[in-house]
């Protein structure tokens, strides 16, 4: 008795097409002159794409949450911290945080805390390509194009190839 062959895993969606979809969702916010802040590294790439697609004037901000993480006592400092750069005054602006995958919500929490050390924004919203559930904090994305169910051992990773094309990869712990 041979067992039936395992079905091949479904192909992962096209991340570039998802960026265009996400830009479509953000378009109705443009009259508020929003500014984008990408969370390293995936969110930074996506924010760059969205700025182009939406034709935003302001440069994007970039956040590395390493100095604000809640697991410093267990894991120590990340060995490759990138500088946070917020090239506009945060005060009074409508800010859209951009990340690739929303999971526990801890990275979002850290990014909001960091953002507030630059000033008091008028509002902060979250835009992500993928929401994989598993929240440990009361955090939700206002804009999301892909709800995906994964097991705890799986890791969804956004990569950028040499031609600067964004692609999804599924890693197993």
């Amino acid at each position: 008795m041979s067992s039936p062959p395992l079905a091949p895993p479904p192909p992962l969606p096209d991340a570039e097409a998802q960026c265009r979809q996400l830009a479509g969702l953000l378009r109705r916010q443009l009259d508020r002159r929003p500014v984008l802040v990408g969370i390293y590294s995936g969110g930074a790439w996506i924010a760059g794409r969205l700025r182009q697609l939406l034709g935003l004037e302001d440069d994007i901000g970039l956040i590395d949450v390493s100095f604000y993480r809640d697991d410093f006592s267990e894991k120590g400092l990340h060995p490759q911290v990138k500088p946070t750069a917020i090239p506009f005054a945060v005060e009074g602006r409508h800010i859209i945080l951009v990340d690739d995958v929303l999971y526990t919500g801890r990275t979002t929490r850290a990014a909001i805390n960091e953002l507030f050390d630059y000033g008091r924004p008028a509002s902060v919203e979250l835009a992500v390509l993928a929401d994989r559930g598993g929240r440990e904090l009361p955090v939700a994305a206002a804009y999301c194009v892909w709800n995906v169910t994964l097991s705890a051992g799986q890791n969804l990773v956004l990569a950028q190839d040499q031609a600067e094309r964004l692609t999804w990869r599924l890693e197993h712990a």
Binding site: D64, S66, F67, Y68, F72, S73, K75, G76, L77, P79, Q80, V81, K82, P83, T84, A85, N113, E114, F116, D117, Y118, G119
Partner: protein, 319 residues
């Protein structure tokens, strides 16, 4: 070989000396410091990394600049900082160094910043903490005797990288009282480790230690010769307080031979930078026209020093 600065995972747990540290750790500290530079430009000049941790500044030897920059760095990491006035404390009443450490550990210290006149004092503390099983308490050497001043060495490397980008093409001169200088030792170890091909040690015979060549430095007694085509000049302070006996005829004669004047500086490359760990003795090792001139990067060194100390403290406290 057991390296007392590294934990069992090979990560930096104490910073005692640059000697023997792998280049990957030096680079990690410099890269992390670059990220901390930005924090000092924000509205809120603080990150919450060391919130709830206690940093004890133990300065058994006087220093205003180093102690202040460590204090600012710890506060920008949100740590609680306690400055011990050692001269009026139990040490003056006869308590041993390790008894002082045990007492501070009982007060839940997380990190000691130690300056001591005796070479090896921070190492003694780190070994003691290992023996009593306190791998959650960390030591940063802020200068021990003539031995090492690793955070000064690192901030000097940060400064050089900031202005010159690449270490592997540089000629760096260290000038003056190298015999008494822990800064010079830390600098020479760091420069070697980061791949600087030409390191020159310039000074009178009485102020240069023997066997500098074994550290990888070329020795010059004639400053005009030694400065030729250098990219970086690190001036050292003439340490009058450490000098026993007649090492020098006079400060005036020292300045004539080894003081950095505009004329001598002109022998180095036109874009050479001039560094000094401070405090400066104007008219003894450096001419005011150089100290205040366009090639001096002495004040940026101080600013970089805060970011470098933030990097060191946050890395060791997390390991």
């Amino acid at each position: 070989m057991h390296n007392p600065q590294l934990n069992s995972d090979g990560q930096l747990s104490h910073l005692l000396t640059i000697e023997g540290l792998p280049p990957r750790i030096l680079t990690q500290i410099l890269d992390t410091a670059a990220s901390f530079m930005e924090v000092s430009t924000r509205d809120v000049k603080k990150v919450p990394l060391l919130r709830g941790k206690s940093v004890f500044n133990l300065f058994f030897e006087n220093s205003t600049r180093t102690r202040t920059t460590f204090e600012i760095a710890a506060k920008r990491l949100s740590a609680d900082v306690i400055n011990l006035d050692i001269n009026r404390s139990s040490t003056a009443k006869g308590e041993t160094l390790l008894d002082t450490i045990d007492n501070l550990c009982a007060m839940h210290a997380n990190l000691f910043v130690v300056r001591h006149a005796a070479s090896g004092a921070p190492y003694l503390i780190a070994e003691h903490l290992r023996r009593i099983g306190r791998d959650d308490v960390h030591v940063v050497n802020a200068g021990d005797g003539r031995h090492a001043h690793p955070t000064q060495g690192l901030l000097d490397m940060y400064t050089i990288r900031h202005y010159k980008k690449d270490f592997t093409q540089l000629c760096v001169a260290v000038v003056g009282d190298i015999l008494h200088s822990r800064v010079a030792r830390s600098d020479i170890h760091a420069l070697t480790s980061l791949g600087v091909p030409e390191i020159r040690a310039i000074g009178p015979e009485t102020l240069l230690p023997k066997h500098l060549d074994k550290l990888g430095a070329h020795v010059f007694h004639d400053m005009n010769e030694g400065l030729k085509d250098c990219d970086v000049i690190i001036m050292l302070r003439l340490q009058n307080e450490r000098m026993n006996g007649a090492l020098l005829p006079s400060a005036g004669e020292y300045f004539r031979h080894f003081g950095l004047t505009p004329q001598k500086l002109a022998l180095a490359k036109p874009d050479a930078i001039v560094m000094h760990p401070g405090p400066m003795n104007r008219g003894v090792e450096i001419h005011s026209a150089v100290a205040d001139g366009p090639q001096a990067v002495i004040l940026p060194q101080v600013t970089f020093g805060i970011a470098v100390r933030m990097a060191v403290m946050s890395i060791v406290a997390g390991n």
